[in-house]
């Protein structure tokens, strides 16, 4: 058994960490948060130059073809620094959907542009309140065009193309949904940026009024493709969450060592030590669940759906727990705009909702464990 990343993968992690330490400091995150930019274009370009955007995209489509374990390593580092770029929308969702279900022509057209940083993609699934389900997809298709609205769509206002889930049947089953690829610059779509809990990452409403709908994957297979894409993205986002949780824990630990109260470092008080120990526990459980998810993702194992749900739940809990407790350790300072604690608090809550809520993934996990037990 070797339940760890390889030395090469750890080297890639170090390389990504060094790169991001220089190119993605908190002031860069704040520039996007405070509306001075819609995303960090320099960082995006830099990530492309480093080959990070195409790390899991085969060489024939302009990527480096390294693989998904490598992508997990990079995701963790992006999560640590709260990278204000449309990485997850483009790489975990759009690129994965193209790789799973795209036609050769679609792959040739879009994947090289993703690898080079020349195209931003996203997934347009949600239509307001509620968890993902075939019945919640109302956006209609007629005569090859789409009509309706999607919100929230992560990075919707800056994306060049979207994978859109639309209703193509009324059987009440999963086969009612099909996927379409829409070139957002080709007309028929308007994007409205929306306020959200973490403005360092954009959310938008996309309104489709006769936009050209190019099928992605087989008709009526949309839900099954989506569910595979979501499982894969769940593992990758879990790594971002693990990175964020670890960084929030470090921030809390460092502050507890620096800050003196009652004549002692506050980190010498059991009340503070135990908060930090519990943060470590949740971050460690999340990391271990995510490693299992990484193994299942990289080997396309039959265990992937269950592993992905477990990683997702565990990592969401850990990041939310660490981010909120980091503020508690900082006391009043933690609630000031100028300390970075709230950036992590915001991101932890945005990521928690980014792919369906906790209750959605709890349902996924139990359904899958139940199926396995029945089998």
């Amino acid at each position: 058994m070797n339940f760890d990343f390889s030395d090469d993968q750890k080297q890639l992690r170090d390389q990504a960490r060094r790169f991001l330490a220089e190119k993605c400091q908190p002031k860069a995150v704040r520039a996007v948060l405070e509306g001075k930019a819609d995303y960090d274009r320099d960082l995006w370009k830099g990530l492309a130059e480093m080959g990070f955007l195409g790390v899991a995209i085969p060489e024939e489509y302009g990527g480096t073809g390294a693989g998904h374990l490598e992508l997990c390593v990079i995701a963790e580092e992006l999560g640590r620094v709260l990278a204000p770029v449309p990485f997850s929308s483009t790489v975990y969702l759009a690129a994965e959907a193209l790789l799973l279900a795209g036609s050769e022509e679609q792959k040739q057209k879009w994947l090289p542009k993703i690898s080079s940083g020349d195209a931003i993609g996203t997934l347009a699934l949600f239509e307001g309140t509620g968890n993902p389900s075939p019945a919640a997809v109302k956006l209609a298709v007629s005569n090859g065009t789409l009509t309706g609205a999607k919100k929230p769509v992560a990075d919707g206002a800056i994306a060049d193309f979207a994978i859109v889930a639309a209703r193509t049947g009324n059987s009440g089953r999963e086969t009612d949904v099909s996927l379409f690829l829409v070139d957002l610059k080709a007309g028929g779509v308007t994007a409205k940026p929306l306020q959200n809990v973490d403005p360092s990452r954009q959310q938008a409403e996309l309104t489709f009024a006769g936009a050209k709908a190019e099928p992605l994957g087989a008709a009526n297979e949309g839900w099954s493709i989506l569910s595979r894409v979501m499982d894969r993205a769940a593992v990758l986002i879990a790594f971002e969450q693990v990175g964020g949780a670890d960084r929030a824990l470090e921030m809390g630990r460092d502050y507890a060592l620096d800050r003196i109260a009652f004549g002692r470092q506050i980190g010498s008080f059991q009340a503070i030590k135990h908060i930090l120990a519990d943060m470590y526990v949740s971050a460690t459980l999340a990391r271990s669940n995510s490693y299992y998810g990484a193994w299942a993702l990289s080997t396309d194992a039959a265990e992937l759906p269950e592993a992905a749900a477990a990683a997702r739940i565990s990592a969401t809990q850990a990041f939310q727990h660490c981010a909120k407790q980091n503020i508690q350790v900082h006391g009043g300072m933690g609630f000031t705009w100028e300390f970075d604690c709230h950036l992590y608090y915001r991101r932890s809550n945005a990521l928690a909702l980014s792919l369906g809520s906790q209750s959605y993934w709890e349902d996924q996990l139990i359904d899958r464990m139940r199926q396995k037990n029945a089998a």
């Binding site: 059991q270 519990d278 470590y280 526990v281 460690t284 459980l285 669940n289 565990s314 993934w361």
Partner: protein
């Protein structure tokens, strides 16, 4: 990243599996599988005899303590091979509970500090289960403050005379030997005046009184020492160096990484899978699903954390204090799981007789044993301190008695 054995590990696993398949006491397999945490009962058989027979059989074939050196009864297996053995032994490993303290903690301490002659004499029967050992550390005034112990050892010629009392000594009532930490110098600070020994539990002046526990079992004991005589040749380590010797013992506790920590989750999931509410499966219930999912990821998180530790071990790293999370998480989880399983049964959850309430009885055994899990071998609070101090590098707790001679430390809260 993979779950594959190396060729050498695969060969070891195949050998272990074949031997277990041919030799394990299969007649008890089902009962062992169903046994609750802390309560293995075999119908119509004496558990101690069954356990000793299994251990002896393993010893004769060289499987009793695979990771020990050959000259002391082992086969020199690597740490990862030891884990492979535990994985393959599976439910039959539940029979070895009474040997764990002796083999996991006393044995390694003997290996580090006893004479070669003593090692060759005492270790093989410890490994084979013929002799059972206990660890005499805790005292009524000690608890988490292990070094606050008061049992005295005074030099008398070539012997030492022991007086005092130990408590929470698992298995003392059936143990043949014990390792014992004593105070030999009360005029120096508490960690400096300690000395370690091993002794025959049948020595004159040793009295073992089982403690009836909150769950009705009697696994722990009080042990009284009245003028017990121990030859100086049974001292482990230097006079006054007992604290360091005891740290060797406690560090070895961490080597006992199992592939599975008991959390109660598999039992709860099984139970919920067969449960219905008004004819509808309980697993369709949103609240049940949420509870189960949250415990499921803790159980899997612990499992994969142990896989990461095993991987680190196989690369030659030593298990570190980060392994404290297993007991910390599992301890409170099993308590919560048991309470929830009983809550699901409504008023009937209160019943515990095996005939009237097979399911409730099982979770009640968990409920009543779990408080001990959270205390024994380090309380939740001590484990959090260990993580905070040794993993995260936070300052140690303030210890006002650290540099005070032991006999000047206050002993009562209110003077």
């Amino acid at each position: 990243m993979n779950f594959d054995d190396t060729p050498q590990e695969a060969e070891f696993r195949a050998k272990a599996r074949a031997w277990i398949d041919a030799n394990a006491p299969k007649q008890y397999e089902e009962e062992l599988r169903k046994a609750s945490l802390g309560r293995v009962v075999l119908k119509g058989a004496n558990i101690l005899e069954v356990a000793k027979a299994w251990q002896k059989k393993k010893a004769d074939a060289g499987w009793a303590v695979p990771h020990w050196p050959k000259e002391y009864g082992g086969r020199g297996a690597s740490p990862i091979e030891r884990v492979i053995w535990q994985q393959e032994e599976g439910v039959f490993g539940k029979l070895t509970a009474m040997f764990i303290i002796g083999q996991g903690m006393c044995g390694p301490t003997m290996m580090a500090y006893a004479s070669e002659e003593q090692k060759r004499h005492y270790l093989p029967p410890l490994g084979s289960g013929e002799k059972i050992w206990c660890q005499l550390f805790s005292e009524p005034a000690g608890g988490s403050d292990v070094a606050g112990l008061r049992t005295r050892a005074e030099k008398d010629g070539d012997d030492w005379i022991i007086n005092g009392q130990k408590i929470w000594t698992s298995g003392a009532h059936y143990s043949d030997y014990g390792i014992l930490i004593t105070r030999t110098d009360p005029t120096v600070p508490k960690h400096k005046g300690l000395t370690m020994f091993f002794l025959d539990m049948k020595s004159e002046g040793v009295e073992v009184r089982p403690i009836k526990q909150a769950n009705g079992n009697s696994d722990f004991n009080e042990v009284y020492f009245t003028n017990v005589r121990i030859p100086d040749s049974q001292r482990l380590g230097a006079v006054g160096d007992g604290w360091n010797v005891s740290l060797t013992t406690l560090m070895n506790e961490r080597m006992s990484i199992g592939a599975n920590v008991a959390t109660g989750f598999p039992e709860l999931f099984d139970y919920c899978s067969s449960l219905t509410f008004d004819g509808a499966p309980a697993l369709d219930d949103r609240a049940v699903r949420s509870k189960l999912a949250n415990w499921a990821v803790k159980a899997s998180g612990l499992r994969y954390t142990s896989f990461r530790s095993i991987s680190a071990l196989s690369k030659g790293q030593r298990p570190g204090p980060e392994n404290s999370i297993g007991k910390l998480v599992a301890g409170s989880m099993i308590q919560e799981v048991a309470m929830y399983a009983l809550d699901l049964q409504g008023a009937a959850g209160v019943l515990s007789g095996p005939e009237d309430a097979e399911v409730a009885g099982r979770f009640q055994a968990m409920l009543l044993r779990s408080p001990a899990t959270r205390v024994e071998g380090g309380t939740d609070e001590i484990l959090r301190n260990i993580i905070a101090e040794r993993v995260l590098g936070l300052p140690g707790d303030i210890r006002v008695d650290k540099d005070v001679p032991f006999n000047q430390i206050p002993t009562k809260g209110r003077a």
